[in-house]
């Protein structure tokens, strides 16, 4: 998807997001013997999205650990193992099923450090595929990143690029606290070039993925490429859009967002969550609080329609944020 048409440089290679993620897993398993991967069908089956394919053969059933269908308990077990000297990576097959494990994440992973007065840390990483776009209908298409970003004690990241898919996991594992990593399911097949030496990246700062003057488009995860496409379309109309990829939802790098908006004086937030109560609302509120006086127009949101995701493709696509809607929102702001 991105960079796909750029010639591959000597020190870089073509790779998919899926493979970059698998490399990151392999790398972590090789670097630290305390690391193991646990989840439904991560082993024998090769992972529901084939991310861990091959790792079972290489690392064996102890470290690539298939679990029964018991989301609450294997997530809780990951927390317990982290308390007791391991560095678990727990894959929850999709965010949809993470609802069954939310109690463990909110009431244990996020609170144990605080409730114990700082005696323990919970160095666990939750990998959670998220998002819609595959016609999986109402129970299999949620985008709940914003909920996780609400919870003190958690860190929440969303790798959108190949670099981040390759690099965020190790950084997350080095973090003493629980990190929730959201991987948008539509990104796995994305292919592009990655530096051969690509490695750990920070998980603290937002990134400006495209510089621009007239408006700031703020997004994360699966919506990044739709937003970049919208920016491209806007450029054709002589509107110069800056694109900020949040990368981390908690903590939120408000500084980068506000600095951009201070320059462009306009902002549109793109978020696959349902509009009401979306994470986009938080970003909008932060801009309200931190850049109100620089705004030339109200901050707008492009989110998912307030409907459980329908099965047919045309309705699903109509429900989700699309480049055309982003372009329209920007033009409305520009009074164009």
């Amino acid at each position: 998807m991105i960079d796909a048409d750029i010639t591959v440089a000597a020190a870089s290679r073509m790779i998919t997001y899926r493979d970059a993620m698998r490399e990151a897993l392999r790398d972590a398993l090789l670097r630290d013997e305390r690391v193991f991967l646990m989840g439904e069908d991560v082993g024998c089956y090769g992972g529901c999205y084939a991310v861990s394919k091959g790792l079972y053969d290489e690392f064996g059933p102890d470290r690539i650990r298939d679990t029964p269908l018991s989301e609450s308990t294997f997530v809780g077990a990951g927390i317990g193992a982290a308390l007791n000297g391991m560095r678990p990576i727990v894959e929850i097959m999709t965010v949809n099923f993470s609802l069954l494990a939310l109690d463990q994440i909110v009431n244990n992973a996020a609170t144990l450090r605080h409730m114990s007065g700082g005696q323990v840390s919970v160095p666990v990483v939750f990998r959670i595929p998220t998002g819609a776009g595959r016609q999986l209908a109402a129970q299999h298409s949620h985008s709940l990143e914003g909920w996780y970003a609400h919870v003190p004690g958690l860190r929440v990241v969303a790798p959108a690029t190949l670099e981040d898919a390759r690099g965020m996991l190790w950084t997350a594992l080095q973090d003493p606290d629980p990190v929730v990593m959201f991987e948008h399911v539509m990104l796995y097949n994305m292919e592009g070039t990655l530096d051969a030496a690509a490695g750990p990246v920070d998980i603290d700062r937002a990134a400006v993925r495209r510089a621009g003057r007239d408006v700031t488009l703020i997004t994360y995860g699966g919506s990044l490429f739709k937003t970049l496409a919208a920016a491209e379309a806007l450029a054709a109309d002589n509107i110069s859009a800056e694109v900020v990829d949040l990368r981390s939802l908690r903590p939120l790098d408000a500084e980068t967002v506000l600095a951009s908006v201070a320059r462009t004086r306009r902002a549109v937030i793109v978020d696959e969550g349902w509009r009401t109560g979306s994470f986009a609302a938080e970003v909008s509120a932060r801009i309200m609080e931190g850049a109100f006086w620089s705004l030339d127009a109200p901050v707008a949101r492009v989110c998912t329609a307030e409907v459980p995701i329908p099965y047919p493709r045309h309705l699903e696509q109509a429900a989700l944020p699309q480049p055309a809607a982003i372009v329209a929102a920007v033009k409305a702001l520009m009074g164009a």
Partner: protein, 335 residues
């Protein structure tokens, strides 16, 4: 409604007519599913598609024991159940296409077939998510004094989920009229039962809640039906919930994305020797109950039914995009 609905308290029947009926139902599922697999390759059907091929004896054996006023709660692997429950194949196929004429008006797709007319309450894509619903439906029947059964289908994988435990307990505690049907096909996606559960005799797990519980050969439709009839009769007699473990096998991949790295072809082939359709026809043939024209007739009629369903689905309409926000609330609500 299934055309196999028996009168109350009927005994298992081994008449030619009855067995032919069971055979026909299994063939209807088999051919429908095969056609769906092709349509998936042709990208007519999208999303997840979970085929039931190999497991037909379970739906066929159970469904005939239900009355029209009973209810069914199923999983994402539920096309066969829907069809045998009496949801028109046309409406099921249109739903798989996502057309407005589908049984869920296209909104649900393969995993969410609904049909209130035949009291078919989905089509649930959260593993074990249907069990609490079934318990609640049975609770309502009990409180309303209605002598109905709720049949709840789920897999071996669902037995590991917390909701299984909670639901069995609640149904047993309140003596609710639920028939739990565990379709134990030995795998939950790629995870073999003994790699997921410390107790692989799943009916023992149910028994500990004081639920009457039994395991049957799920490749033998007559055995399934006999057990299901005993159990539905018992429920109607007020004996409370019953648990039927059907030992079966899926011949196809878990879904259309599954490369089946986790099992040998030899294992699949072994199980195919117990093919429920072949088995019933062979048995009937030996017993002189299957005439030479029977199967060809069934096949021909089924073929016609399926082609009509495909034509219906093809002719169906896409719901207009303007209607996107429909059916979120019963009355209009603007968030």
């Amino acid at each position: 409604m299934s055309d196999l609905s028996p009168p109350p308290h009927a005994k298992p029947r081994l008449t030619r007519d009855h067995l032919l009926g069971l055979l026909r139902q299994m063939v209807r599922i088999r051919r429908f599913e095969e056609r769906c697999g092709e349509l998936y390759q042709q990208e007519k059907i999208r999303g997840f598609l979970h085929l039931y091929i190999g497991e037909e004896a379970v739906a066929a054996g159970v469904m005939g024991c239900l009355h029209p006023e009973d209810a069914v709660v199923a999983t994402y692997r539920e096309h066969g159940h829907a069809i045998l429950r009496g949801v028109p194949m046309t409406a099921v196929m249109a739903e798989m296409y996502g057309k407005a004429e589908g049984c869920s008006h296209g909104r649900g797709g393969s995993m969410h077939l609904f049909d209130v007319g035949t009291r078919f309450f989905g089509g649930n894509a959260i593993v074990a998510g249907g069990l609490p619903l079934a318990v609640g439906m049975a609770l309502a029947d009990r409180m309303r004094g209605l002598p109905r059964v709720t049949a709840c289908f789920f897999g071996d994988g669902a037995v590991a989920e917390g909701e299984f435990h909670e639901s069995l307990n609640l149904a047993a505690l309140w003596k609710l009229p639920v028939l739990f049907v565990c379709e134990n096909n030995l795998y939950a996606m790629g995870t073999r039962l003994d790699r997921a559960q410390s107790q692989t005799d799943l009916h023992l797990k149910a028994a500990v809640y004081q639920v009457a519980s039994e395991a049957v050969d799920g490749m033998d439709v007559v055995a399934v039906e006999a057990a299901a009839r005993r159990m539905t009769d018992a429920i109607r007699d007020g004996a409370g919930p019953q648990f039927l473990e059907c030992r079966t096998y899926r011949f196809r991949a878990h879904s259309m994305f599954d490369p089946q790295l986790y099992r040998d072809k030899a294992e699949v082939d072994d199980w195919k020797r117990h093919d429920p359709v072949a088995r019933l026809s062979a048995w009937m043939r030996e017993a002189g109950m299957l005439h030479d024209t029977d199967l060809p007739t069934i096949e021909r009629e089924t073929e016609a039914e399926i082609e009509a369903a495909v034509a219906f689905a093809e002719a169906g309409k896409w719901e207009p995009v303007e209607d996107l926000a429909k059916d979120v609330y019963t009355r209009e609500v603007h968030p």
